[in-house]
Amino acid sequence: MSHQAATSFNELDPHGYEQPGHGQHHSHPIVGPFTLRSILALLLVFTVLTVGQAQAELWLTGAFEIAFPLWVNIVVVMGIATVKAVLVMAFFMQLRYDNPINTIIMAFCFFAMSLFLGFTAMDLLTRGRVTEFKNGPVVAGGTGAGVPSANGQPLVTAARTRYLEKFLADPVLVEARLTARMLDDAARSTLAAAPGALQAHGHDEGSSAHADSRAGHDEAAVPEALAAAAITSVASEIRHKLAYRQSLPSPRLFAAKSLADKAASLVADGHAAAGALVSTAAADAANGRLPADSKELAAHDFEMLAAEAHATSGHGGHADHGHTASDKNTTRGKSGLSGALDTTADGHHDDAHSEGGHTSVEKH
């Protein structure tokens, strides 16, 4: 892009913008479809890789109990994200072909961002270095201290308390969980009526669902086992709806209808005896007496719902997943469901919250 020497110097155009070679858009490349498609393919491959890494790690942990340190996940996933970002910026945003000043600006922006993150981390994560008491979680706001609807409890405890109160009082909710309970009982008594062999499986109270499904697999031909499995599946369907707060306006009708459907499909599959048992249960669900309610039963039902919610959410089973870093800082000691049910004032963190200060300290 020489300016064609002094001969063509024009004082109205000292930088030679009008000279040949400074024409329109000559310096702006056209990024062709082949490049663009290749980049798209690469980006999609990296997306599959990053999802695959996260899933493979969870699977390996679940299947072989290999505990990966958290940094493996973070480094791989963020590394892939960085590569993808560079591809997008270099080719889609054309930084590779563009005036370098744009790249410099963006690079400086990321540098500024790292300063921002770095200095904040230096402050927040090292507060305990000098004075130990400054170590610990920042409480105000985060867990609900000072939020009126939380009644002075941490937000999580307050939400649980609210729900349990509703659980005891709301007629539809009460009907729903009592219906599920009634179905459990029906499944249990159906199984008990079966001839000898099935009793050997022996199921203790509360884990009837597991025992039933096991029986269903082992003794698929026995009508009682088939019927019990069908009835239990309707019960867990109701619990699932409750756990996910889906609308269930008349639980007993829903149960009767689902059971009738199940009975029909059992009969259609040639299991007439099991179908008959299930349709008896359907009639009972619509007209039978609901079991008596009590606070303890409600708490137990809540526990089952919580198990349902945890089992089916997102990754599934993440709660058992090893978190190397988590043990140090959090109070997950009570993460079990017995802890979840603990709605009285001595929940998780209450000693810390009752102080009501701006920040407070927890000793582990």
Partner: protein, 231 residues
């Protein structure tokens, strides 16, 4: 009296039939169209840095709260469905491609294909927002998985989970807002392209809207693994 050399030739009445883009003249305060294009792009990159720094606040909150309350973050990200996140990633990547392809089409004067690509980009953006609202926000909100003091999910165990939801909603909603703004910008480009505004010698508007759209994609490229994949 001599005539001053002008950078612009006077409009030729016979050339009225030519498409708008070929008759484009740069603003009078620029020396040339190249300078205008480069200047506008430089300005837009500067604006994009402020966008990155806006999201940096959320990334900062995410990183530090994760370091402080890993249990809450594990529980929170565990209750997200990576399938929806991955689907949305693919939708955004495809739309980024169609946006880049639209620029290529206008550079090579393929008006119809260019407009088609713009349209696909807008539809992808709408699909992204729809997936987010219908399959992510709505079920979570009704279950009580809400940010901060609105939190009402009874089955949570870690006391700092509401904080996770605050970061989740702030990050994704701010991003979704950017998707919507991007859609509006591209729709504007689409309308202008109907009049033949963009072509081989003038496509600044498409280019700038494209940069914005790619930034939206860029942010999601980081938000997706941070929220959905790190467990």
């Amino acid at each position: 009296m001599t005539t001053l050399p002008t950078s612009q030739s006077l409009p030729d009445l016979h050339e009225k039939k030519k498409p708008l883009w070929s008759r484009y003249v740069h603003g009078h305060h620029w020396r040339s169209q190249t300078e205008e294009f480069d200047g506008l792009k430089l300005g837009f990159w500067l604006f994009l840095t402020t966008e990155v720094l806006l999201f940096a606040g959320i990334f900062c909150a995410y990183c530090l709260f994760r370091a402080m309350y890993p249990g809450a973050w594990a529980e929170g990200s565990g209750s997200l469905n990576w399938q929806w996140g991955a689907l949305n990633t693919i939708v955004l990547l495809l739309s980024s491609y169609t946006m880049a392809a639209a620029i290529y089409c206008f550079q090579t004067d393929q008006q119809k294909r260019g407009r088609m690509n713009l349209l696909i980009t807008i539809i992808s953006g709408a699909a992204f927002v729809a997936i987010k609202l219908v399959f992510e926000y709505y079920p979570k909100w009704t279950m009580g998985k809400r940010p901060g003091s609105l939190f009402d999910y009874p089955f949570a165990t870690d006391p700092h989970v509401p904080l996770w939801w605050s970061v989740y909603y702030c990050g994704t909603a701010l991003h979704a807002l950017h998707v919507i703004i991007g859609m509006i910008l591209i729709a504007r480009v689409y309308v202008k392209s109907l009049k033949g505004q963009y072509g081989p010698t003038y496509y600044t508007g498409v280019e700038v809207a494209g940069l914005y759209w790619h930034l939206v994609d860029l942010i999601w490229i980081f938000l997706f693994p941070l929220l959905y994949l790190i467990h």
